[in-house]
Symmetry: D2
Subunit: 259 residues, 4 copies
């Protein structure tokens, strides 16, 4: 098997502003996530951040990425639309995408879902217990029936998403809420996994279970096939069955379709 | 039952430019579609076009619309983003949306699907036969096992959409292609129906079967419930289970979440 | 609108054996559920039980039923296969089916799902809080963000079901588990709603929120269209396009397909 | 990577009765299918037939099978229920299942779908063209935009199945019908692929495109995770959150749940 080429994208804003976040993630959250993934021998991991040119997501970098992880929170609005569009096209082609925590409100996630992706929330350092909904799923290999995070920000239902293809985790919160914490979808050929844990004021990405899930998810999300779609005109003479053109037309010969 | 309030949106461009289209649809395609729907006694039908202020889709008009039909082809790019966003929010709330033919490439459809919505096509006036995939579905009541359109533009697979919730029609084309011609999805509380027939150089919207499907689809797509979602903070003191806030926080009290 | 014809099926076993259950449901659980539904003016409600001939579910009764509610627990194995088959066919035609609590292991539910429908469980009288996953869905109209049941049997994930079409409720349990407590599917033209609450040692079906959900679910599950499917041979001379039979055949003329 | 262990199950009835089928498949259809798959170096392929003890599908054989292919037509009713149940459990655990052609009416497929699986049909040796609905899907790697079979039995819509997870192929027939010829679903952890081609009076399983699809489908359907589910009681003292049992109970301590 070829290595899996992974890019961890980090907004890298709260790490600069909050002493607390800097203490937990001295090299940035993206670096911590990348470190965890690099424990796998066949993973080739790099990072990219908002502050880099093109947010570190050039055409070339994306073309060489099998799976992209996305962490953003305070600066969703600063991500340039053309970079988001580039990521979206690459997902359609087949690149896997793992959206983390507050990334539920990122431009890329909302564009791929087609819904508002809203939820309820509370930052009280309460306990979260993530239940496995299907112990046979590749994303939960090595995880017990559930795992706990002692201090988390709460996200609660309703979570305004299209029905997931697969329900991987559901969370129980100490304060009384529940949330669909692990969900999968497909858009084009890209596999998408939303994974809730990750608030920046807790050491979530140091947690061994969280790290295991992310490793599994990268394997699950790697491309199985690539397709760059288009909207080709099939000329009359190339129709599989012989036909003759009839009637008047709106389009001129050789013209591309309207967009 | 209350009447169903329907708005037929038409781009109204080809009707101005092409003598052929003007001949088939002298009052515009939107007017012809609206006329068909108005045959139902409990439908209140109005039209809106690209050329009107706010494209005829003000907040108020949308608030008073149960089901919106969308016909566009040559001028998708001219539809203003804030109007598209307004339509999208209203779909999330519960408004039904029926997207017609070349509307597969409209901004609103692509935004709700999250995919490219590409396909293959050929304008040769060939025969199309639409097969019913579930004779018990409300959208096909009054339709036989299939119906035919003698002259149509061909759309062929691959159609780059997320898997539909329900497959309503699949088309057979004289030139040898097939296409998923009737598909449903849900985004938020809005029901969405894509219906392929409708090329402007043929009298498709005068066809009795097409008119019957559109009537059925309006009944099917009417809102069953409305929800205006948001992303509310649930303060610690309003948690269903008594908890005490622990640890440091990123958010300030009373602050809205980041977007 | 025509009235909605509802049949509440009850196993009626624990009511006979357990003093506790008899005290909570002196006329049987089915009667209590039927009483709740009868509060709606346009509902025509009858009951049927395991002990009646054909378990009270004759061809005629089913033909006159728009929505069937199913409560069973101790005697799933005693339900005769031909009655189950009859119910299944009627669901395919369009009859709605609401499966309650321990009905997750009923023959009819397992047959319609195609999965094992297993779960984890604990009978400790603990608190359950059911969260609404989409406040705009017709099944939750009149329900707040959540509702609580003070004493319930716990059901926990993993719940071995196919991905639901819609997630309506998710439960939070005092003992720490979560569960997909309200789920919808479609099989043929029948709408199916699984609703978790209902353990017989608690007065669940006297609860106003539970009663409201069941009323809503009956409206949601009523048939929108009916189709009695078959596997018809289309003779060569009835093909939509003119063709000539070629080659040898396995089937004899006029023969039905193999089953 | 480990080899993929494949079992091709064949009914092996028409091969005995029809001179035509024997001529096309002198060693049986199952043997021809197995020969095609054996061209892959990492596939370990065996066959099993209706006539063998336990239809060749012992507990041990199934335990050693990653992907099972199923060909049946004339003798669906002769397949013993306990063997079907065994296959179903193994699919739930994670074994892949590929159902061929007339297998749409096999006991195992109908049980996993939960629907009638009916369709329309015609045996006239007409041409079929299978269109790829997503060129990036692993099942269609190596296949062009479409492929043709010069002589086939026609299957037409409506095909009474639950909405597929993914639409892989749709067929165009010379006589004017269409059909969802390649569909995927998941039941438990098992991946299921229905593939239409295969009528026994034509040399379908000698066709290079059909063989390529079957090879791809075996790779796609191999287990990614295994789970043998059950319905465990979680005793009060093992609840993740400390609780005390309250109220009366229906179940006795240590008792299994009712089935």
């Amino acid at each position: 098997m070829n290595p899996i080429r992974i890019t961890v994208w980090g907004e890298n804003v709260h790490e600069q502003r909050h002493e607390l976040v800097r203490r937990l993630y001295p090299k940035g959250m993206h670096a911590c996530i990348a470190d965890g993934l690099s424990e796998e021998g066949d993973f080739q991991v790099r990072t990219a951040t908002l502050q880099e040119p093109e947010h570190g997501l050039s055409e070339r970098t994306l073309a060489e990425t099998d799976v992209l992880l996305w962490w953003g929170h305070a600066a969703h609005g600063e991500v340039r639309d053309e970079v988001v569009e580039r990521v979206r096209k690459r997902v359609w082609e087949g690149m896997g995408l793992i959206v983390l925590h507050s990334g539920h409100y990122s431009k890329i996630f909302k564009l791929l879902m087609g819904t508002s992706c809203s939820l309820t929330w509370r930052e009280a350092g309460e306990k979260e217990r993530l239940w496995v909904c299907n112990p046979g799923h590749p994303i939960v290999q090595g995880i017990d029936r559930y795992f706990e995070l002692p201090h988390t920000e709460m996200y609660g239902e309703p979570f305004a998403i299209p029905t997931p293809d697969e329900q991987i985790f559901i969370s129980w919160f100490e304060g009384g809420e529940v949330f669909r914490s692990g969900c999968t979808w497909r858009r084009g050929n890209g596999r998408i996994f939303y994974f809730r844990p990750g608030h920046e004021s807790y050491p979530i990405y140091h947690d061994p279970n969280v790290r295991q899930v992310l490793k599994n998810a990268c394997r699950w999300a790697r491309p199985e096939g690539i397709w760059i779609d288009s909207c080709p005109n099939i000329p009359v003479e190339e129709a599989p069955e012989p036909i003759t053109a009839q009637g008047e037309t709106i389009h001129l010969p050789g013209e591309e379709g309207f967009r």
